[in-house]
């Protein structure tokens, strides 16, 4: 391939958007194929076939990733909308999401330390239960690898969205509200999207929980960050 073309940011941006569009089309055909697996895989295949390095692709890829910033800020809107709708139950829901944020950090740290993860892996894995955009921001802040955090966070969401609802039912969490808060706190947007496809109420509650965790988790991480520096 022409090297000038690859060095232009338009290569990375176009490839990313095309892969995302293709992944959305593939999902219509095979609903189990999550776009967050298909799209990166398509990009990876094109890079391998063309013998293009990730660094060269990053010139354009970074321009797409840039929008994670505004998208993170935009999360304030669903947080506000859900909070207004759920006013009466808000204290209980906030407390539930707070417990979820705290447990998320505790369990993520504990399981990595106990099972021999390296320090750089710990920094990338610590925020993996919050929504991906925030997890990436937090990982950078802690000195972790944003790429690794993105992959860990998406996998966490997929695991939680598949195993979460049956596990909660099996273990006696019969309250639909409590189950939705748990899924939002442990499996962020991917888990919430799954709930949303079944019930708007549960999806909304789960989305609220996810958004509330984006506020609690960074605050809870403050002492960790201070200790790391």
């Amino acid at each position: 391939m022409n090297n000038n073309l690859i060095a232009d940011p338009i290569f990375g941006t176009t490839l990313t958007i095309a892969a995302y569009g293709a992944a959305l089309l593939l999902k219509r055909r095979w609903s189990w194929l999550h776009p967050l697996i298909a799209a990166p895989l398509l990009v990876y295949v094109v890079l391998q076939l063309g013998g293009i390095s990730y660094t060269a692709y990053r010139v354009g890829g970074d321009m797409v990733t840039y929008f994670l910033g505004p998208a993170t800020v935009a999360m304030a809107v669903p947080l506000y909308k859900h909070a207004m709708r759920l006013r009466r139950l808000l204290p209980s829901l906030l407390l539930g999401a707070f417990v979820g944020s705290f447990l998320g950090l505790l369990v993520n740290a504990g399981s990595v330390i106990i099972f021999g993860g390296t320090e750089s892996f710990l920094h990338a894995a610590l925020p993996k239960s919050v929504t991906t955009a925030v997890a990436i921001d937090l990982s950078r802040w802690l000195g972790g690898s944003p790429e690794l955090t993105a992959a860990l966070t998406v996998t966490t969401g997929l695991v939680g969205s598949v195993a979460g609802p049956p596990l909660l039912r099996l273990c006696g969490v019969t309250d639909k509200i409590a189950a939705s808060i748990a899924i939002g706190a442990a499996a962020h947007g991917i888990g919430s999207a799954k709930l949303l496809s079944e019930s708007e109420e549960q999806g909304g509650l789960s989305g609220f929980s996810m958004a509330a965790c984006t506020v609690f988790t960074p605050v809870l991480l403050l002492p960790v960050h201070a200790w790391l520096l």
Partner: protein, 124 residues
């Protein structure tokens, strides 16, 4: 476009507070907190930002794609910690889910006893 401008403005404000005022939180998270505060205090009206915010959050997946495509470049870090990765992704995630669910169920049940009318709210 106004909504997009406001969101970018809050993103920039978060960046200023992080980089120059030295507030120890990631800059985009600061932007999120500030915009949420502005919405709750009605400094910013929901209608101004709703459309742009919905567009950004709806297509958020697109913005992760370059990072996910690059994860193989970091395979070594993952390889060194593969056991921790497997355990924290599966058992860890499920433990967080279950404990949060049980705790929230307990919290809601307690609150219902104190404020019985909360029950009627739950069908919303």
């Amino acid at each position: 476009m106004r909504g997009f401008g406001i969101i970018m403005g809050f993103d920039g404000l978060g960046w200023l507070l992080h980089s120059f005022a030295g507030i120890p939180l990631p800059s985009h998270v600061l932007g999120l907190l500030l915009l949420a505060a502005a919405l709750f205090t009605r400094v910013v009206k929901l209608e101004w930002v709703e459309e742009s915010a919905t567009f950004l959050t709806k297509h958020m997946m697109l913005f992760f794609v370059p990072l996910l495509a690059g994860v193989t470049a970091f395979a070594k870090v993952l390889g060194d910690s593969w056991l921790a990765a497997v355990v924290s992704l599966t058992a860890g995630t499920l433990v967080i889910l279950l404990l949060t669910g049980l705790a929230t169920q307990f919290i809601i049940a307690n609150r219902r006893q104190e404020v019985p009318e909360v029950e009627q709210q739950s069908d919303r």
